[in-house]
Symmetry: C2
Subunit: 249 residues, 2 copies
């Protein structure tokens, strides 16, 4: 049995030891992140500085997934994204845009910028909005911040359209990560703290998924009306322990 | 038969003559506006400068309707509105807010301000969001601009709540205008250029409604999937003509 352990990108002090342990057990490991405030390069460098043995090609993130879609469908985006993410779209033709790509733009979510993205969309015969996630909000040291999903909904309503979501929990996002690892859904397991985006998304794709009781986890998640995790673990070490034991059975 | 003519507030050169004609015919006239970028005072002064014979108490607008609701329900709002509208809320207690009121805040729709409104809502046991309209966008000389409804949808999604809409097309908005005029819905007629907010809203309230083929009107409105006007007129003069003739039958 070649079981695959799949970890999300939320880094904590325990993870780097766990990551090493997973790799030592011969399991493939992949970081699935909805991070759209930085390039994968910057993201990986930050993790490396924290002691992680991780490379850019072990990370699945929304921006490169969006770039693939843009190329496949000859789409030229107007970008409403964070300044730090712009280099991910360096190789993409952005002249005379025929779609909008929205990410977690943070302070770039000004009235002016949202109007500009809206005008591009409303001017298209067939408006296409690609959203790098559908998150509602996240926590930073100075408080809760609105996430990309909120502004996606705003533009959806303004133009009476449905966005195409590229990040978690989109099925396609997990599928492309599985393809990159060359494994089937039933060979992989997702571990994450977000009941909808991590657990629900992975399950929709046919994977098993554990929710870790840290980070975003809230006790009420265990009674979530739509998503039921395949298991709960108190921390990442416990998850890794279970998986590795399972492997050696 | 005491028929009531009901005009929306979009001012054009023909309207002031029509308004005089309506009043001379003994009809009651009321301006129903979703204007939330200025106080009624400023709004009326602008119309008066254009030659309109109109007073503040002939205007039904979302902000005073919201103020009544706030007082009735002991609500203390956090305001996300246009600077020019703030005086309408002068008499309202805003300490320790237990709801959010959102209007067409235009440039005040910054990421920072939207986060602040969100944090108030998410911190409440029972989050209440009152929206001064549900418009998607409007046209200004420098192009299309996103309207309050878009940001209402954003906060609804962020907090997983439903806003209470105070402006057109809310039934309550038309009802309070009718009450102020002391007439029944079947005695009144709405004339407006917006198929959903003007025509649909008034019909929901039991009134008849004409769509005027100017301003926001688009030919496809006549095939709108949900709203069918009771009649179409090419301009306001034509509507007034029909109504006055009807009156003298």
């Amino acid at each position: 049995m070649s079981e695959i352990c799949w970890l999300k990108s939320r880094y904590n002090s325990g993870l780097r030891h766990n990551a090493r342990w997973i790799k030592a057990s011969g399991l493939k490991l992949r970081f699935c992140t909805n991070e759209t405030q930085a390039t994968r390069d910057k993201f990986v460098k930050k993790l490396q500085r924290l002691g992680f043995n991780i490379s850019v090609n072990e990370v699945t993130a929304p921006a490169p997934a969006a770039c693939r879609i843009l190329k496949e469908r000859n789409l030229r985006p107007h970008l409403l994204i964070h300044d730090e993410l712009v280099p991910e779209f360096d190789q993409v033709d952005k002249a005379n845009p025929n779609c909008v790509v929205i990410g977690d733009a943070a302070d770039n979510f000004s009235y002016k910028n949202l109007n500009e993205a809206f005008r591009v969309l409303i001017g298209l015969e067939n408006p296409i909005l690609i959203s790098l996630g559908r998150g509602r909000y996240y926590k930073e040291t100075d408080g809760l911040k609105l996430d990309v999903g909120v502004y996606m909904k705003a533009l959806e309503y303004a133009c009476d359209i449905q966005a195409e979501v590229v990040g978690k929990p989109a099925k396609m996002f997990f599928q492309s990560a599985l393809a990159e690892m060359e494994v089937e859904p039933q060979q992989a397991i997702m571990i994450g703290d977000d009941i909808v985006n991590d657990v629900g998304g992975a399950q929709q794709c046919g994977m098993k998924a554990l929710q870790v009781r840290t980070g975003k986890y809230r006790p009420c998640d265990e009674q979530h009306p739509e998503v039921k995790a395949d298991g709960y673990v108190n921390n990442l070490a416990e998850a890794v322990d279970i998986i590795v034991k399972q492997l050696h059975k």
